[in-house]
């Protein structure tokens, strides 16, 4: 309803504009309006058809036809004419995409068979159409009284035009549906090859017709043909090579340069009389086959930007459909369309038999050969212009035929792609998420009841939201004291408790196994190994054995729960060895692992006695994702050194023991919308009052730090810097309060209990040193976890926030603070936190440099309002633009794509974070 209302408003506005400005403005002033209206309406109608499992393209076409000059006239004739300017570039773009889809490597040995198939199909089709046209000639409204030779020439032209296909429509349907597989490749290759042959045939038939009906000897035909085809291919190859070099060495503003290339090919093609479509296909082929990584990068860019182009192109085609021609010659055109359909089917059956292509996909190849569009229309226009009279009659018939095939073709092709398995028609497969920590804990309450507590971390919240939508199983260690009481016989409980949507399968890990796996190998070994801090990793054989045993138990549980072969999304460093164990049980399973913490430099990694096993284990995943580019590169270096895997740096892929693992960097985000909602909630003020009372916040300047109590978080360094600030600026005593929320964790480990003791002692010491009678202490130290709503309330009260990690994978507190703020507040951020790579407008500090740190704090306190606003707005745009849901969907889309398409990921900085 909302969308329909929006469309109605847009229609109203466009009519109003036309009424106010007159129906025919000068020049191209209506083009942008027509484009906007077409894009909006086409998208909405396409969406409606998509809900009925029909191609969206048909919706775009229908919208164009209904609002175009022949029916609704909202898109007037002059607007429709101006839209054609854009369709030239769009056609070239789509042809370039078609070229990018044709990989000689992938087609490989099939190329010969495909050529044979195309030849046979075309021969059957053209012969059948010519025979039928010859026999039915007296009844066709073209030139019934023509002599035998003239009739033969006209029949030849008519047969070639009627037979022609539409590479553009075929490529567009494949692009729009995201189809990938043998049928997609087959039909694309066939229509390109067949139309090349038809281009030659048309030129010959045209020369013959000129000779027979207009008595003209066309001696230059072969030279012209050679230029049309050879020139187009040569220009395409040249442009493709240049573009590949640009992508490789510059790689900036790719969409803009891509459009420029398409405009150039269109323009040069029209002025130099060669076929721009062919040139664009050739350019795409060059980029795809000679420069694989660049081809993938370009395809990714095109895929992201192709939708508006497709919508405008097809709506414009719909608007230009001459429906009056259908009304006049509807019966004959319908008969011709039916005959063509029958002959296409017959031709493909014969082609399959002779070429011996596989029937599973080839059986539906006919569905891709029905659409007709630009090339056929171009042929008809040439005939009409060359032969006024019978040529115009022929054009009218062909236009009516195009109108029918244009509407039916995409529907049939979509059906074919679905039947051949190139198109995922089923809803997304249920997801299996695996993590050490569970999303809901069940605990006993003091009154003897049981309460479920949801995990509050950003990642847990995002994955929970995804699981609610997708359904599936979340496998995690059951840590709540009432967890066993609520599960069924299969250790499963449906969650979320209020509105169950997916299964939580709990895994019970007994002591001392759990302590060795979690406290020992994961947190005394891997954690300090991956973080550059002064805590020595400790590796013990029995911890490693426990780690492997628990990972094997996770794998066993996944195997129990998997209905089909995935997808499985594994979380973090606790579960590095799950994939190899799982693969031993399920070789075809698809897994992705996200490594949330930093990945160490290969030299440091070698400290771990089992580093080779860990790297090999991680390479058993299909997709391996890290937070930062640095981590990705470190991992690729480690994989290349030991276990000497074959690393394809450009494609960011590792080939190891006959398997491929794609390695990407996808920085995690926060749930921006939820934090904004909490920040705008009417309850916020009450919560702030409560916090003021709880923390005794009466000072004028408030700072905040929120951390798990961990030696990597740089809390002592932070306290030292605050101490230094107040020493430098004694006037801040009593006026500044710093709230440190530090929730103890892993306290059973010596390194953690030591940091707890150190932080407590330093807070007491600093507070004593700077105490002002009657004023709040300098540091408010709070060791209890706060809910998300309370944290947001606290962030809103804080003038600055400190994140001073000595080393951190990302640090979501930095992003949460930004998400919670309005146009005020200052983030002081450690250069060693992953977030510093994105939040460059924070005050970046080195936590080891106490003087510099203190100077940054002074600057944060004294920063002018407009600078704060500018920095915060810039950071907010980044945090809002890359939230935790886009992080999760990037990884899962990457994982899903493994089912249908070969894996190539070209990762280049932040641009490459979309997998």
């Amino acid at each position: 309803v909302r969308r329909a209302f929006a469309l109605a408003v847009a229609v109203l506005a466009v009519i109003w504009v036309q009424w106010s400005g007159g129906p025919d403005p000068s020049g191209s002033a209506a083009t942008a309006l027509a484009l906007g209206f077409t894009l909006l309406g086409g998208a909405l109608v396409g969406d409606v058809l998509g809900r009925f499992h029909l191609p969206r393209l048909t919706g775009y076409l229908l919208f164009g036809a209904v609002t175009g000059p022949y029916l609704g006239n909202v898109i007037t004739e002059s607007m429709a004419g101006q839209l054609q300017i854009v369709t030239g570039v769009a056609t070239t773009l789509i042809a370039l995409v078609a070229g990018l889809t044709l990989s000689v490597d992938r087609l490989g040995a099939r190329l010969r068979a495909i050529t044979g198939f195309a030849t046979v199909t075309l021969a059957v089709l053209v012969t059948g159409l010519a025979a039928a046209a010859w026999l039915a000639w007296p009844w066709l409204p073209i030139a019934p009284d023509a002599g035998p030779m003239a009739r033969l020439a006209m029949v030849a032209l008519l047969a070639v035009m009627t037979a022609s296909f539409s590479p553009t429509m075929t490529a567009a349907v494949i692009t729009e549906t995201g189809a990938r597989g043998r049928l997609s490749e087959l039909v694309l290759a066939v229509v390109v090859i067949a139309d090349l042959v038809l281009l030659v045939a048309f030129s010959l038939a045209l020369a013959f017709a000129r000779h027979e009906t207009a008595a003209v000897n066309d001696t230059g035909i072969f030279a012209r043909l050679l230029w049309e085809i050879g020139g187009a291919v040569a220009v395409g190859v040249f442009v493709g090579a240049l573009f590949a070099l640009y992508l490789r060495y510059a790689g900036r503003e790719v969409p803009l340069v891509l459009l420029a290339v398409c405009a150039l090919l269109t323009q040069v093609g029209s002025t130099q009389q060669f076929e721009p479509l062919l040139a664009a296909v050739a350019a795409g082929l060059v980029i795809e086959n000679l420069s694989v990584a660049q081809g993938e990068a370009l395809r990714a860019a095109v895929t992201r930007g192709a939708t508006p182009v497709l919508i405008i192109f097809f709506a414009a085609v719909g608007a230009s459909l001459q429906l009056n021609a259908v009304a006049t010659l509807g019966g004959v055109a319908l008969a011709a369309a039916a005959l063509r359909l029958g002959l296409v089917r017959l031709g493909t059956v014969a082609g399959l038999r002779i070429s011996r292509l596989d029937r599973a996909s080839g059986g539906y190849a006919w569905t891709g050969l029905i659409s007709q569009a630009g090339i056929t229309l171009g042929f008809a226009s040439v005939v009409s212009a060359e032969f006024p009279g019978w040529g115009q009659q022929m054009q009218t018939l062909i236009v009516a035929l195009i109108a029918i095939n244009e509407l039916a073709g995409p529907i049939l092709l979509r059906h074919g792609l679905t039947q051949a398995g190139d198109l995922a028609t089923s809803p997304p497969r249920p997801l299996v998420v695996v993590s050490n920590r569970e999303p809901y804990l069940h605990r006993r309450t003091p009154d003897g009841g049981i309460a479920a507590t949801a995990a509050t971390g950003g990642v847990a919240v995002a994955l929970d939201a995804l699981m609610r939508e997708r359904g599936g199983v979340w496998i995690a260690h059951g840590a709540g004291d009432a967890d066993r009481l609520v599960v069924d016989a299969g250790d499963v409980v449906r969650v979320p408790p209020q509105q169950p949507a997916y299964d939580l399968r709990r895994l019970w890990i007994e002591e001392p196994l759990f302590s060795k796996y979690y406290g020992g190998f994961a947190n005394e070994g891997l954690w300090p190994l991956c973080h550059q801090v002064d805590v020595r990793p400790q590796f013990r054989s029995d911890d490693w054995q426990a780690y492997r045993a628990v990972n094997a138990r996770f794998a066993e549980t996944i195997d129990d729960e998997l209905v089909a072969d995935g997808p499985v999304f594994i979380q973090d460093y606790h579960l590095a060895m799950v994939a190899p164990e799982l693969r031993a049980r399920r070789p075809a399973v698809r897994t992705a692992l996200f490594w949330h913490i930093p990945w160490p430099h290969p030299d440091r990694l070698r400290i771990c006695p089992w580093h080779r096993e860990i790297v090999s284990g991680l390479l058993s995943n299909d997709l391996l994702a890290f937070q930062l580019e640095r981590d990705r590169l470190h991992f690729l270096a480690a994989a290349g050194e030991d276990p000497e895997a074959d690393v394809e740096l450009e494609a960011s892929r590792v080939n190891y023991r006959g398997r491929h693992c794609s390695v990407v960097a996808v920085p995690i985000g926060v749930d921006y919308d939820r934090i904004q909602e909490l920040a705008a909630s009417p309850d916020l003020e009450a919560e702030q009052c409560r916090l003021r009372e709880l923390l005794g916040l009466t000072a004028g300047v408030v700072g905040v730090g929120v951390d798990r109590l961990d030696y990597t978080k740089g809390i002592p360094e932070r306290l030292a810097a605050i101490d230094r600030v107040v020493r430098l600026r004694p006037e801040l005593r009593g006026r500044l309060t710093f709230v440190q929320i530090a929730v103890p964790s892993r306290s059973e480990l010596d390194s953690y209990s030591a940091i707890e003791a150190e932080v407590g002692a330093r807070v007491a010491e600093i507070n004593a040193r700077h105490a002002v009678p009657g004023r709040p202490p300098l540091i408010r130290y709070h060791t209890t976890a706060l809910s998300t709503a309370s944290l947001v309330a606290l962030y809103r009260m804080a003038d600055f926030c400190i994140v001073s990690s000595l080393h951190d994978g990302m640090n979501l507190v930095a992003k949460e603070y930004v998400a919670a703020r309005g146009d005020d507040g200052v983030l002081v951020l450690s250069a060693w936190a992953g977030a510093a790579e994105e939040l460059t407008d924070a005050l970046i500090i080195n936590p080891y440099d106490v003087d510099g740190f203190a100077a940054a704090l002074v600057r944060a306190i004294e920063m002018p309002e407009d600078e704060r606003a500018r920095r915060m707005r810039a950071m907010r745009r980044i945090v809002a633009g890359r939230n935790v849901f886009s992080w999760a969907s990037d990884i899962l889309e990457g994982l899903e794509s493994l089912w249908t398409r070969p894996l190539h990921y070209a990762v280049r900085g932040l641009e490459g974070t979309s997998v």
Partner: protein, 328 residues
């Protein structure tokens, strides 16, 4: 503040446009420019929207500063317009439309100054409307354009709050931008102004819509601004007379800056290109002239050329002489 290299990059885009245009290598021919023509109102609308979304322009706590910068901006506009009018009259047989030149140059100078952008864009819209008919009869059409832009912003808001995927959201955003820019263009009114109205509407619609719009429009803005600068360079028709007036334009803008420095006691500095949304002062200075050429026709090409060349000269002077802020 962005590095000065970015400003140099923007200047070089204009120069490349002029080189590739009909007066240079003739690669950006009228036919090619017609192909990329729909992107121009789209780009102008995007600039307007970003200006409308900028909350600092409406910050009541900044009222005093806004008043001062408004007065400064208006004075700069009057100085540049008046000075250029006088300079053009001094030239014998001037082929440049003098009044139109003064109006677009003055409003462009104001737009590129620190004056609140909503005010500067409205002044530019009035100037363009005046140029279009030679009278103020078009003024009601400004209100008309505003109403249509608000209606389209409403449609955009409905869509932005009902999208199902990021790709769909981007499609809706591009469609809305095209509608807003296209409607203004159809009415021969500044797309910049239509965009401003839409931006203000979305800003009022709450932080969710405001941030979404800012992110999506900002993502489109950079390539569009590059295109705008190329087109402006290609459309400009240079001559000796134009270059003489361009020097006058640059000097007048420098004089305006110096006057403001004397009045306020603040040191001169290059106008911040990134107050909130990556708006290039070069694009802003050229926008009214480009809009006027679209609204009135190629007769105003010399005026566009003066503004383009003058802005480039002014930018080069600033880059060469003024102290630049260190990047934070």
């Amino acid at each position: 503040m962005r590095p000065a290299a970015d400003q140099l990059g923007a200047l070089s885009l204009v120069a490349v446009g002029a080189l590739l245009g009909s007066g240079g290598l003739a690669i950006l021919t009228p036919r090619v420019l017609e192909l990329i023509d729909p992107a121009v109102p789209l780009a102008l609308a995007a600039v307007g929207i970003l200006a409308g979304l900028d909350s600092t322009a409406f910050d009541r706590t900044q009222a005093r500063r806004a008043t001062a910068t408004s007065a400064g901006g208006l004075l700069t506009a009057v100085l540049v317009a008046g000075g250029l009018f006088a300079a053009a009259r001094l030239l014998p047989d001037a082929a440049v439309p003098v009044v139109a030149l003064a109006a677009v140059a003055g409003s462009g100078a104001m737009l590129a100054s620190p004056a609140p952008r909503p005010l500067a864009i409205t002044v530019a819209a009035i100037a363009v409307a005046g140029i279009r008919d030679g009278t103020m009869a078009s003024l009601p059409l400004i209100a008309h354009t505003a109403a249509i832009a608000a209606l389209m912003a409403f449609a955009g808001w409905l869509l932005m709050t009902s999208h199902t995927s990021p790709i769909e959201r981007r499609v809706f955003m591009v469609a809305t931008l095209l509608l807003i820019g296209g409607a203004s263009d159809y009415l021969a009114m500044p797309a910049l102004f239509g965009g401003l109205v839409a931006g203000i509407c979305w800003r009022r619609a709450g932080p969710g819509v405001r941030d979404t719009a800012a992110i999506d429009v900002a993502a489109l803005h950079q390539p569009l601004a590059a295109l705008l600068l190329l087109v402006a360079g290609a459309l400009a028709a240079f001559s000796l007379e134009v270059l003489a007036l361009a020097v006058a334009f640059a000097l007048l803008r420098m004089a305006g800056d110096a006057g403001l420095r004397l009045a306020t006691g603040q040191p001169p500095r290059a106008p911040s290109p990134d107050v909130s949304a990556a708006l290039s002062p070069l694009v802003l200075a050229i926008a009214p002239a480009l809009t006027a050429v679209r609204a009135v026709g190629p007769d105003l090409a010399p005026a566009l050329a003066v503004v383009v060349a003058g802005t480039v000269l002014y930018g080069l002077c600033l880059w060469a002489w003024m102290p630049r802020e260190a990047t934070a």
